[in-house]
Symmetry: C2
Subunit: 547 residues, 2 copies
Amino acid sequence: DYPRKNAEILSGQYGINVLLIGAALMLAIAHHGPSVKEEHLLSFITCLMILQLIWMMWYILVRDRQKNLQAEKDVHATTCWIRGGLTLLALLSLIMDAFRIGYYVGYQSCVSAVLGVYPVIHATHTIAQVSLQPHFNFNKVIIFQFGVIHAVFTNLLLWCNGVMSEAEHFLNNHKRRLSALGYGNLSIVHSEPHCNCTTSACSMFSNSLYYLYPFNIEYHIFVSAMLFVMWKNIGRTIDLSSNQKRPGTKTHGLILGPILGLVALASTIGVLVVYIIHVEESVQTRQSAISMFYCYGIVMLVFMCSAGASGLLIYRANHMPMDTTKNPSRQLDTELLFGSSVGSWLMSWCSVVAVLGSNSSPPYRWTNLIYALLLVLEKYVQNLFIIESLYRQWEDGEREDPELPAAPEIFSVTSSLAPPYNGIINRAYDTPDRACVTMENEQEENGQVYRCPRKPSEVPLPVGKKVAERPSVKRQILKNITVFLIMCNISLWILPAFGCRPQYDNGLEQETFGFSIWTTVLNFAVPMNLFYRMHSVASLFEVFRRV
Amino acid sequence: DYPRKNAEILSGQYGINVLLIGAALMLAIAHHGPSVKEEHLLSFITCLMILQLIWMMWYILVRDRQKNLQAEKDVHATTCWIRGGLTLLALLSLIMDAFRIGYYVGYQSCVSAVLGVYPVIHATHTIAQVSLQPHFNFNKVIIFQFGVIHAVFTNLLLWCNGVMSEAEHFLNNHKRRLSALGYGNLSIVHSEPHCNCTTSACSMFSNSLYYLYPFNIEYHIFVSAMLFVMWKNIGRTIDLSSNQKRPGTKTHGLILGPILGLVALASTIGVLVVYIIHVEESVQTRQSAISMFYCYGIVMLVFMCSAGASGLLIYRANHMPMDTTKNPSRQLDTELLFGSSVGSWLMSWCSVVAVLGSNSSPPYRWTNLIYALLLVLEKYVQNLFIIESLYRQWEDGEREDPELPAAPEIFSVTSSLAPPYNGIINRAYDTPDRACVTMENEQEENGQVYRCPRKPSEVPLPVGKKVAERPSVKRQILKNITVFLIMCNISLWILPAFGCRPQYDNGLEQETFGFSIWTTVLNFAVPMNLFYRMHSVASLFEVFRRV
């Protein structure tokens, strides 16, 4: 009876404020003042996680009591491959927690107990979240909405905390490197405990932690995106026809894309190793390492731009209507792609300004300019390609499969009751129902749930000829492009995630913007860029399945 | 034929990149380095403005040639009172340009010519924008979309520039004040030209400028919000039934709200004057001025919270369906309210952290805490109130008016053809057509424009009894609340806009967060807060008209 819109605003504002309290604590910690310490932030996060655990238990108890609730899962938020990826990331997070506990045990005598409680709670939280989350149903109770938004922002806060720790670690490394090269004395803030480690594995634990950070960070941002979609869907009726599972995507004709992608991936790992070794040595090798990085980057980006552009050209040659049904998950995807590009674009434009305004002229000055401009162009083209792919209506090619029943039988299927026929109901069937679906959306907004009766007689039968006309060559090209782009995006994620960040090392931007402004920009832009790469891989995978 | 979604992404990405180039230049200027100067930024903005002027001229020329285009104005973007406010702000911006030109004439011999060209172009731009903007029609040509988004981001960049200049001026003042009070030596960056002024009015011009900045800043953010709504509407069909003008809102029974509001406004001006005089004097008066500000703020906020909460209680007592028709302008309003609250919330939570973590204990320590918490609560309640009011379906009270024709004649009116009957078509009439409107929305997404036939026979006749049951007392209370909130928001806009910013002066947060982090937070949060106040006044005014 409480209007849905209000419940959304009420819970959304609560969530934002939780995040902002965390942000305020982080800012205070960043100052390294005497009053606010990391323990305070960790206790706050631990409280939030405990609250979430209590809420989840309460939810499970309530649900078990009213078993009659139809188990209607959120199809937009949970597809099987997303769940697989998430479980993997969660496992790596658990390893990280184990390391943290080990580290705490070693320094037990002189560090705060919070450092020991936090990883234990975090591990419990991770396990509970990954195992329980698929069992959540739609539920219009406002406490459910608060619980979900609490979970979203707890994860977002954990993400922020991960990003901050990672950035600080990287910055300290960078300062140490600068001092070693003789670039003046920058004060490094030591966060080492004041006693000796009682076990022999402490330094191993603390060093390994930083290789696991990237995965932990991605885990939290993914969970919060999924939960956010779930939150947006609360009180909405789900179009069950999208519940169908598509048969496995065919991999026929996939040659060039994967090969080129693997070449890109292999060369990336090579570049990463060479870069990390060379950048620590003399000024000479440092400059050559940076030059090498930019040349490699330009080649990669040129290939990616041409791949994306040819994909767009294929779309222009092949007129098809856009799919405009309401899908909060897809809209969120679009907005996240767009939003997370901003960080990287800002970084690129800063580089352009720095190159054009700089007085010094290192050997990589102009390659840096070209690299920055290509980076802008590549994201521009790739976003267009991904978004157009996601919004396209694809004729389903699955119809040809011999083992599936003939077309007319489709109409006897009500998707929710006849699982073996799932996946047959095709887009051609959906279209005439659109008005009905939209009316449903309208009703949902008012909080009512009602289902349109299917009217099979009005549905035009799928025409057999269309199947023959299916532009399969174009599709194969699109698949190859998508696979290639996936590999390239993974490559461009690996580089900064594992420490290859020439924006810190090249010195050009630092000269124009000053150390503090430039590191602030990077602390904001690099995590966004990492998220962009991860997210575009996920979106491209979705595109790959749809093509 | 180019899909609407793609055109949106294509032009949106272009706009974001234009803004980011500007942001990169601003960051470089903030470093006060030798390579990038303010002239570079101003030339860039001037180029953007000239581009926009060329586009506007081109548009007018093209439109005049194809006069047959139906003049279908964007009703969401332009209502008469918005236009009035905008014209006023534009006039103040023009005065500012005149002052800038005068300043340039005085220092002509030693400053860059860009400082003279910029205000001239800016004045032309302002005049052209305000006078031409209402003549824009919907146009699906992609170049129109690019033009509008270019205008949106040019204005946003001008806003950023204004905010930056204002923040820098304020920061310099603050540093000067701190030095005068003996708080160490902070380096002040002087931006004075290196020659003497040839006219006598230079210092008058440069001092007056800062009183006009707040209006210039609001002007640009308003224009970009309006243009953004226009951009979002491109390719959509407008529901003409919302084109109707409502008869003037009745002011009967408006007593308590305006009176209390005026008291608030008057006391605000008193507080502002006392604060600005006292804060410059000794440490003692400074502390008492800050204490006074917090006490005043607490009283204001308690009243505002109770007003908003009683509004929400009235809504809870009075069940009415929510209006869920698609309205991009209203959705943008909601998002802007929500988004711009974030800045102020962050500031409040930082204050809370600072108060709790601080070691020093000035007299205003705990009032600061209460003030910060009330600020969070007040925005929380006010946002809920405004958003619920905007999404409510109001029964129209205008039906009773004796000079209007009787109810049955309504149905013979087609809203677009019979202007004298505009405003009669009521919500009860709209509801059954909702499904049709929604289908229209659906069609629009595909780029098609088609209009549902009205089916008067299916429409339930408005029942006479309902009019008698109309809760007019509740409405009068709501109106009083709205007027009171409008006045209070204006008061809370005036204080920071004209220099009353205790967050800079109280020293508590600066101790916990450090000077640089805290001024960064304030430079981000204060303009957002100013925008929030301005925007909530506009939204509340809309609420006032609807109640």
